[in-house]
Amino acid sequence: MPQTYQKPLTAENYSQEPLLNVEGVTLQYKTKEHLVTATYKVGFKVFDAERFVLLGPSGCGKSTLLKAVGGYLKPVEGKITLKGDVVTKPDSGRVMVFQEFDQLLPWKTVKANVMFALTTSGKLSKKAAEERTMAYIEMVNLTDFAYTYPHMLSGGMKQRVAIARAMAMEPDILLLDEPFAALDALTRRKMQEELLQLGEKSGFTLLFVTHSIEEAIIIGTRILLLSPHPGQVKAEFNAGTLGYDNQGQNEFKELLGKIRDMLFSDAVEEETISTKGS
């Protein structure tokens, strides 16, 4: 089995150095007419085997933040370090899974898509890469579809291939950018469950972006709440004990309510500002 991941989160892990350290990061990008500030002095720490969720309304820069961690974007201010090394460019140690279904290469079969990632990085011999590929395809239950082309798969299956491809690299951290947002509710729920099971099996470290509070609580062990325009840290919550089975319980509802109130207060503030302005 290709498992080399760290053990699940324990109290000792917290005393260690963080795996990913984001310090005072300000991100800006240019459009044709404007310079947009996406996040302003955002900082957080992600430890080994954590499932860290970036949560916030649209426009809070959470996807931009994820891209910066991926190395696609340079911070204007502050720094991002992974295992003590400053992140400067995309790297197979930080693998990203996107929301879009077109992230699979349409000219490669499911197996070739997963294997291409392993062989291009030159880490493994062809035989070892093939073995690992099949192991991860089996882990996401797609063995029967190993030789099909992506356009013949459903949306959920495509996302599973993308996740398998990312996991097969056995990266230091997996970056998931609303991977289930384009799926129907039923498939989304199934995928969330599967992701949690994969997490239990492999103990990966996850940085997960979503705008759904429920998804954040179910998936995450720790949740970072961002405010909109530009994104700033509002709060951090622990949600490691809460999952699907707790949805009816008070603890779950309390956290949900707390987060919802905080997000809602943002919306209200914004509305009053905009009415004042007009």
Partner: protein
């Protein structure tokens, strides 16, 4: 599913109007076969080649009927005399050699054009100067008919393959570069990011991500430029005759026109069409079904 939702929202004010229900699913095993094979006639009609041959058959019939009625073999020979002339030219007239002469020059020019276009487009996607250069050059030279450069080419390179190849490169490189470049710029941001994520850069990135992702456009470019090259070559041979020493298909047509062997002129034109038709239907169709159709990028 959708219907029931609609009903629900509309009847919200009086929910008791319609009772709720659940239903058992009917046993469908009694219906028998769900799949049925198509009849022989339907299957024959589904074969692409059969339908195309049928169209050709109709066209040839019209030709034959018209030519027989016109009764002017000098101006408009019948289909059958053309076929006979064709056969004769094949066996005795050295038509095969002439085809080879044309095809050889064509392939030389086509390959050289593809290489030149590859260099230009790769330069264009990796550097901003390259992209400016390509845009300017295509805007300037794409409207210029390649054949118009032939007099100049003959001056520079003299009679022979060189000037032909030069003109063919010009015919191939602009339409191909234009298509390829627009294909490259249309590659989705997600695919680009995926490629970079797994550590691809430089030429490996171009060959492993950009070229396959832009392949539908590249293939169109290859097809268009193939036709341009073929056209230019025949025209050049027609106008300047034996510019490559022993003469190709265009020269064959020109020669026979001078001798008023109109059936042979038709046979020459026929050959040009058949080769064009064959390359499109055999070579490019095959590439298409093996690549872009298989990958689901084209229906």
């Amino acid at each position: 599913m959708d219907n029931s939702k609609n009903v629900d929202t509309r009847k919200k004010t009086s929910p008791s109007l319609r009772p709720e229900f659940t239903r058992e699913i009917l046993d469908t095993s009694k219906i028998g076969e769900i799949f049925q094979t198509l009849s022989l006639w339907e299957r024959i009609r589904d074969i692409n080649a059969v339908r195309k041959l049928f169209i050709l058959f109709i066209l040839f019939t019209i030709w034959q009927v018209y030519a027989v009625n016109a009764g002017n073999p000098l101006m408009f020979p019948t289909f059958t005399t053309t076929v006979v002339a064709h056969w004769d030219a094949f066996v005795h007239g050295g038509l095969l050699l002439k085809i080879w002469v044309s095809i050889r020059v064509l392939l030389l020019g086509y390959t050289a054009g593809i290489l030149a276009s590859a260099i230009l487009t790769i330069l264009a996607i990796t550097t901003r100067f390259g992209s400016d250069l390509l845009e300017t050059l295509t805007a300037m030279f794409n409207p210029l008919p390649a054949i118009a450069l032939l007099p100049l080419a003959l001056l520079w390179f003299g009679l022979g393959d060189k000037s032909m190849v030069f003109v063919l490169i010009h015919a191939v490189v602009w339409p191909l570069s234009l298509n390829t470049h627009s294909g490259f710029t249309g590659v989705s941001q997600t695919l680009r990011m995926v490629g970079r994520n797994y550590g691809l850069s430089g030429l490996r990135y171009v060959f492993k991500i950009l070229i396959p992702a832009a392949f539908p456009s590249i293939l169109t470019g290859l097809k268009v430029s193939w036709a341009f090259a073929w056209r230019t070559l025949i025209a050049a041979e027609l106008v300047f005759g034996v510019s490559s020493g022993c003469g190709g298909l265009g020269w064959f047509i020109y020669e026979n026109k001078n001798e008023l062997e109109i059936a042979y002129v038709f046979a020459g034109l026929f050959t040009v069409i058949i080769i064009g038709f064959g390359v499109d239907n055999l070579v490019f169709r095959k590439i298409e079904s093996k690549t872009v159709q298989r990958w689901g990028m084209q229906q």
